[in-house]
Subunit: 749 residues, 2 copies
Amino acid sequence: MTLRFLTPTLAALALASTPLLWASEAPLLGFGPEESAAQHALEDRFRAALNASDQDQWLKILTAEPHHVGSAAGLRNVAWLKDQFESWGYETEVVRYDVSVPVPTVRRMALTAPEAWEGSLTEAALPEDPSTQAPEGLLPPYHAFSAEGDVEAELVFVNYGLKEDYEALARRGIDVKGKIVLAKYGRSWRGIKPKLAAEKGAIGALIYSDPADDGYGQGDPYPRGPFKHETGVQRGSVMDLPLRPGDILTPYAGAKDGTPRLPLEEVETLTPIPVLPLSYADATPLLKALGGEVAPTSWFGQLPFAYHLGPGPARVRLTLEFDYQTVPAYNVIARLPGARLPEQWILRGNHHDGWNHGAADPISGLVALLAEAKALGELAAEGHRLDRTVMYAAWDAEEPGLIGSTEWVEDHAEALREHLVAYLNTDGNSRGFANLGGSHSLQRLMNEVADATPDPILDVPVTDRLRAKLRLSADKSDQQEAKAPELPIAPLGSGSDYSPFLQHLGIASLNTSFGGEGPSGSYHTLYDTYAHYTRFRDPGLRYGVALAELNGRATLRLAQAPLLPFEFEGVADAVGRFLSDLEGATEKQRTAQQQRTARLNDGSYALALDPEGAVAPPEALRPVPYFNFAPLRNAHAKLAEAAQRYGALTANPTALSETLRATLDRKLAQAEAQLTDPEGLPRRPWFRHFLYAPGFYTGYGVKTLPAVREAIEEEEYEQVAQEVARTTARLEALTAHIEAMNALLDAPR
Amino acid sequence: MTLRFLTPTLAALALASTPLLWASEAPLLGFGPEESAAQHALEDRFRAALNASDQDQWLKILTAEPHHVGSAAGLRNVAWLKDQFESWGYETEVVRYDVSVPVPTVRRMALTAPEAWEGSLTEAALPEDPSTQAPEGLLPPYHAFSAEGDVEAELVFVNYGLKEDYEALARRGIDVKGKIVLAKYGRSWRGIKPKLAAEKGAIGALIYSDPADDGYGQGDPYPRGPFKHETGVQRGSVMDLPLRPGDILTPYAGAKDGTPRLPLEEVETLTPIPVLPLSYADATPLLKALGGEVAPTSWFGQLPFAYHLGPGPARVRLTLEFDYQTVPAYNVIARLPGARLPEQWILRGNHHDGWNHGAADPISGLVALLAEAKALGELAAEGHRLDRTVMYAAWDAEEPGLIGSTEWVEDHAEALREHLVAYLNTDGNSRGFANLGGSHSLQRLMNEVADATPDPILDVPVTDRLRAKLRLSADKSDQQEAKAPELPIAPLGSGSDYSPFLQHLGIASLNTSFGGEGPSGSYHTLYDTYAHYTRFRDPGLRYGVALAELNGRATLRLAQAPLLPFEFEGVADAVGRFLSDLEGATEKQRTAQQQRTARLNDGSYALALDPEGAVAPPEALRPVPYFNFAPLRNAHAKLAEAAQRYGALTANPTALSETLRATLDRKLAQAEAQLTDPEGLPRRPWFRHFLYAPGFYTGYGVKTLPAVREAIEEEEYEQVAQEVARTTARLEALTAHIEAMNALLDAPR
């Protein structure tokens, strides 16, 4: 398709809607007016050094073979990466950890009744895509950190395997105790599904990708289109990441020679039951063999029959054995020391290991990072040394459980707490809209950076596209958001290497990508290849260049700003939103409980449910007490005031003395850590951040104010007051930290 | 399933929630206290005379063979029906009309590109269901009143073939001019789809049943479950029923000997292009052969591939020829003359012709009617002669276009206007909740009747189940409705034999059924059989008995009430709701227009749409003026006041003189007609009712305040003031009519 309808409209827009790039006269956050102009010029030079052909070439090299942790190709990529960084003038080291990773030795899944059939558990080679043809060293589809076992039982279809799905089954008299569950991928992180199934008593779990979700229900399957091939399997880790990521044998410590190892029996983060991922080709005979009640139609996927719940008559035998190998994980760390403030570090990272060829995940993000590093190296070679130290990291073993980054963070925790100002993560990319996530102290910086980064096709700031999308949303709050002076950035859950930095150490972090116009079903399958990526995800790697520009500008501002470009009004705004959301969710939970009780008491369920149907009324819920959120509200009000004062006092940063700025910089780098508590979150002390965490029962998706929110969601109402107090203490700590800076700024000079 | 969870709860409920049957001491509407007691006793005797085995036996007899209009089996059913009514003591006549009906002689549908393939256009015989095996005289799947033709063109997939679907195609640069369209059944009445396709320039149309809508996407297909078999085809009429039903050659007149006939070329109600219904077995090769853009995923059905829009490369040749036969349509009219007020008639009707065996449609409704007639005949034989005349009608030729009833109504218009008090329609039944629709002057009667009719499984009033369902609805207005003293009954659109009575003559009408717990995909297919019905739709015909009880009670109250049980507060309430809804819809249309214009002007579409995608911004809409609805509001206020006064003045009807009651009865029978205008609705003068009509572009579904509403919906804003005036005049006429009764009631006696 061509731009047939856009050209005339956009010409008009350039005048009508948004200031042109650079047109704003206001100085950049953390800069004075003169330094802003110099920064613009520097970023122009940086931008000019970016090109798509570099990224295309690197993508081809790095995705030539499957390159998971411990693989020969992974090691070759590491050596190549080190060479690249060194050729661009970086001090580069390869940091090795010896980590424990399971390699499957036996994977069998068979129907034993009503008739015998065995799943292929393999992905088809496609003549259209050379990468898929007998690749060397290919890992087959499996779930890393599944339990081993040889189990056989009746099968039950559990929809997405969420809590509400088990409630719906219970209303139909179906218990999964002693059964094997079959769940669809989606709606929750994969590791949550066997965790919850095991809690419900299941002895095994299968997870398949329904074509409704990322197969032909979304568009043409690969190779005709980008969506999931019928044999495609989403492999992946089922380590209990919401409990703790990283090497399973060395919690809280880098997995080096001499680090004590846990015995495997004491590891808490293994999934308790055997679990295996399936393609829909392999899931179809299972679903067809299920009897029992017809599932609720909202549970149906896109396979051409009515889905039944079971249990049985389908019986499944699942056999899994693993070889727990200790393999070397190699992080490549490249460093460009700062000229003026070398003890302040900016770290930009992306993992390099992939489940297979890993074109989209992770290499599309890694090649953007390389482009940034190459451009900064060129600037340095031309004499533009940066003020602060900039580092690039290519992490290993992210896929099995953020292992490379977590081990490095645990190994260097003290130095990072002291020196690391911010961590900028990516983990893949595709065509479309900017996804901006991270610490809200960096929200304004990211808005300024995104305002300066043009969409590579439309040549308007990427924020213009975001605002346009929000204006067209049916959601009123999106329409409001479109008008806000600053676009809210998304709080971070987990699922990539920012997690140890942000949630374990309390380092301000960002996570960015483009996406939404290059969809696919290739995630973690054999089909995440160079051919697939360049045909469907980001042809010409134009958004690869945009991602490099976005992160490069952010890196350069963090490196060069006379005063670190943090601010706290964005944090206060975010906390206010999280609180309103928490209060709203609590009220909704209370209303739902009250309504359910009322409808149970007045007999509505008994009267309205099909008297000859299979569905019983739901269980009554625990009444939701009224909670005292006032401490959080009071702390929030004080935070907002302190943040506003800090903003006013630092409006002209270059008017401050260099000494004061250096002092402030050190304090700014510690600000995010105020939101962490060394004792961590309830049930999972490794996670220490009290604003953002992955959901204990939802996985990657973020829970804001997690200690309080999850106590309420899990109906542990007795815990709420304590977690309100602990969360309030974190907000007060940040306020005190800001007020300490304000006092320095207020002091007579 | 057993009632495992209901028994204890319901025992408690009987005390807690609703008054037991008969427990209410208030007299029935239209009755005094003493007459109410007598009426209860009479209805008890009526109820005792009902039984399921009669209905089961009749169902088997009447569905033994396909019995469409003009068929030998149809004629046998007519003779049998006449015998039954006569054996129960009814004066029975068979009224014949000679009507024009097309019988297909050539039906071919073939792919001519990208490869040749011909559709089977047949439904499979099933060993599990003897009715489906080579039935004598079976009509094949076709659309009655399609154009003839032999057309070949590229195919375009148009989703449900609604206006908004063509807008979505236009945004993708797809025009159906000169093409053949393939539409899914659903969302609009079938006849609208070719009508709209022809307006857009298509030269042929195919309509298929996607398994998402009533096939395996809803549950197990027949014979494993009740849903649509892969070869099942929904045949049916595509006569332009929203323009005018009935014999196509004799508009406004009964099709008798000597009635002048239009030449076929002058008939306005034929579909302008050839159109044919398909099974999904026959639609699958067409959809698979389509290329072009992938359809929006919301357009996908449940077939196992991504749906494409075309046009082409699929080319289709569609060949249809019909033999327009003049066939006899036989209405069976049975009469039990009233003892006291024989000139006041109550008419209860259901059609007897079916597309095939027609077990659910229409025989399940007809056997309930027969049960009522038999029971009333027995009461009469025991000496319980009713006050007013009760008539039963079994209509012929409903399926091709409400022909039997319409011809009879047009033939007897004068007598019916003078004598007919109310028409009570049914047209099929199944297990579940009561569906109550009709004139709102009968709303209170229907509430009282439904309060007295127990659900046959749960033994609570059917209104209790309805209220329970409303209380459990997520919709706030449903929850409010559950608390209303009277449950609103549904306004009627079209699609069954009430249409000529209500919308052409202005006779107060009702249409009732049970449903929602016996779903199916058998509608108008070969599989609507005795075996299917009794396995899935209403095993044991318990809801058949409930339907007979519901309509029998209504009939008995209309026949026996000292003053006809009409009231007008329900009408005023309904008009108020319709007005609020109209105002709300207008405001929504205005907001949508304004938002679209704003988003076009600020470039949001240009920025947010995929710049390399296929979708252009939408067209601007015509600005929606502000309309003066005050005349309607003022008329509504006066109607409400008059209605309230009438209610107060008739609170004790037996205190009124018999003469006055007789006078009021005559006026009450004329009240609904006040809402009709002899000039009819814009574009379709046959439809004369200004409160209720089928949608001109949506079909069966009702449009309330249709003259005003459709002028706004169709953006004919210049017409709105005139239609407000005409609608206001109808409301004022009803108010004047009520005030005239009030004056009689106020007059010194």
